[in-house]
């Protein structure tokens, strides 16, 4: 499993590139639309010395957990560099507090962005178990997945998610937000 012996075929690289592009498109659709390919390309370039020039399967190919982790990590590094240049601090700003609750709240707008940040702030006010369970649930994990990741039973996790979501809604309402 040594990193230096692992090789990717051209087909592996193409599979990995497509997977990274799709993942970035799903997770960061609006903001990075114009940079998506560049970011992925930059992360793959760091794997260049592990490419196998001719066709065919690499010895380890994409079965190499290590190489996929490297690709992911370099992608995140690129993303972090990009964002560092235009940092927005997370703090309890007045913008979120002053949003009119009665109007529709478009997700991909400044309003959606501010409410999203208010969600993070409200999560910080929950007790830790509820916060962890709700966070994973809002990240798209099922209750069963969250239970496995957090080391709790299904029942306990389900209960934490249910109560935590209610707390979260109360917190957002108290801030004048009703998403």
């Amino acid at each position: 499993m040594s990193g230096s012996r692992q090789r990717l075929s051209e087909r592996d690289v193409e599979t990995l590139r497509r997977a990274l592009v799709r993942a970035v498109a799903r997770v960061c659709p609006a903001e990075l639309a114009d940079r998506r390919d560049d970011l992925v390309q930059a992360s793959l370039l760091r794997l260049a010395d592990r490419w196998r020039p001719a066709g065919g399967e690499g010895k380890d190919g994409l079965s190499s957990f290590y190489l996929v982790k490297v690709a992911y990590s370099t992608l995140i590094d690129e993303l972090r560099c990009l964002r560092r240049r235009r940092e927005v601090p997370l703090e309890d700003g007045s913008a979120a507090m002053s949003l009119p609750a009665s109007e529709p709240l478009p997700d991909a707008t400044a309003q959606g962005h501010e409410i999203g940040r208010a969600i993070h702030l409200c999560l910080g006010e929950l007790g830790r178990p509820r916060r962890l369970a709700v966070m994973l649930y809002l990240q798209g994990h099922s209750v069963r997945q969250a239970a496995a990741l957090l080391g709790w039973t299904y029942k306990r996790t389900e209960n934490l998610v249910y109560r935590g979501l209610a707390n979260l809604r109360d917190c957002l309402s108290a801030r004048g937000l009703s998403p």
Binding site: C28, L62, R131, M135, R169
Partner: protein, 211 residues
């Protein structure tokens, strides 16, 4: 518990929070997020990282990205594997494929694999069925490896474990399952320990329902 429209809305708004969010020097390395989202590390380390994502929109996005990359590669693997035919000892991309092996009722009939190919995107693959009297777990991975296996019940109590398995299969002793109620869930995970930290193979966590 099904996510309703209100939850979907909260999820979209959480995604929106990551727009232009920057990471800070206190953010964990990407490798740690990848490992935690994949169910590696200790439970407390995973909790600590999830806690960080709750306060950090940038790392929350990076976590989602880890899940998405793993999901995309799994889909690509599924397509490739399906082309080769089910039951072949192919290697899954990110995870070692783990399947519940249903023994053939007679020697003349080939074994039937309940593969994980139809599994969803999650890091836990749900509900394969197995008989408590004949619960054989079988998985696939690169040749020449020794596998560690751990099987837990739904309260995360140890049901069975094994180290250094040279064959990619393990029979859960029937006596270890005797006290479990019908329909109980087991969680199983296969790991190939590595000589250096951070370079190991690990399967997804699979749930197996015992009859």
């Amino acid at each position: 518990m099904k996510a309703d429209a209100a939850v979907e809305r909260l999820r979209r708004l959480l995604v929106a929070a990551a727009d232009r969010a920057a990471s800070s020097p206190s953010c964990p390395p990407a490798e740690a997020l990848w490992a935690a989202a994949g169910g590696e590390l200790t439970v407390e380390e995973r909790r600590r990282l999830v806690d960080h994502t709750a306060s950090c929109p940038a790392c929350a996005r990076d976590w989602r990205l880890a899940v998405a990359v793993a999901g995309e590669l799994r889909r690509a693997s599924r397509r490739r594997w399906l082309r080769r035919g089910l039951g072949v000892a192919a290697t899954v991309l990110v995870a070692i494929g783990l399947s519940s092996y249903l023994p053939a009722p007679s020697a003349s009939r080939p074994p039937v694999y309940r593969t994980v190919q139809g599994a969803g995107e999650g890091l836990v693959v749900d509900d394969q069925q197995a008989s408590r009297d004949d619960c054989v777990l079988q998985w696939s991975g690169p040749p020449g490896l020794a596998y560690d296996l751990i099987v837990l019940d739904s309260d995360l109590r140890l049901v069975a474990s094994a180290r250094g398995l040279e064959e990619p299969r393990f029979r859960v002793p029937a006596e270890r399952l005797a006290g479990l109620p019908p329909g109980s869930l087991l969680y199983a995970r296969v790991v190939v320990p590595a000589s250096s930290p951070g370079r190991r193979l690990a399967s997804q966590t699979f749930t197996i329902r015992i009859d």
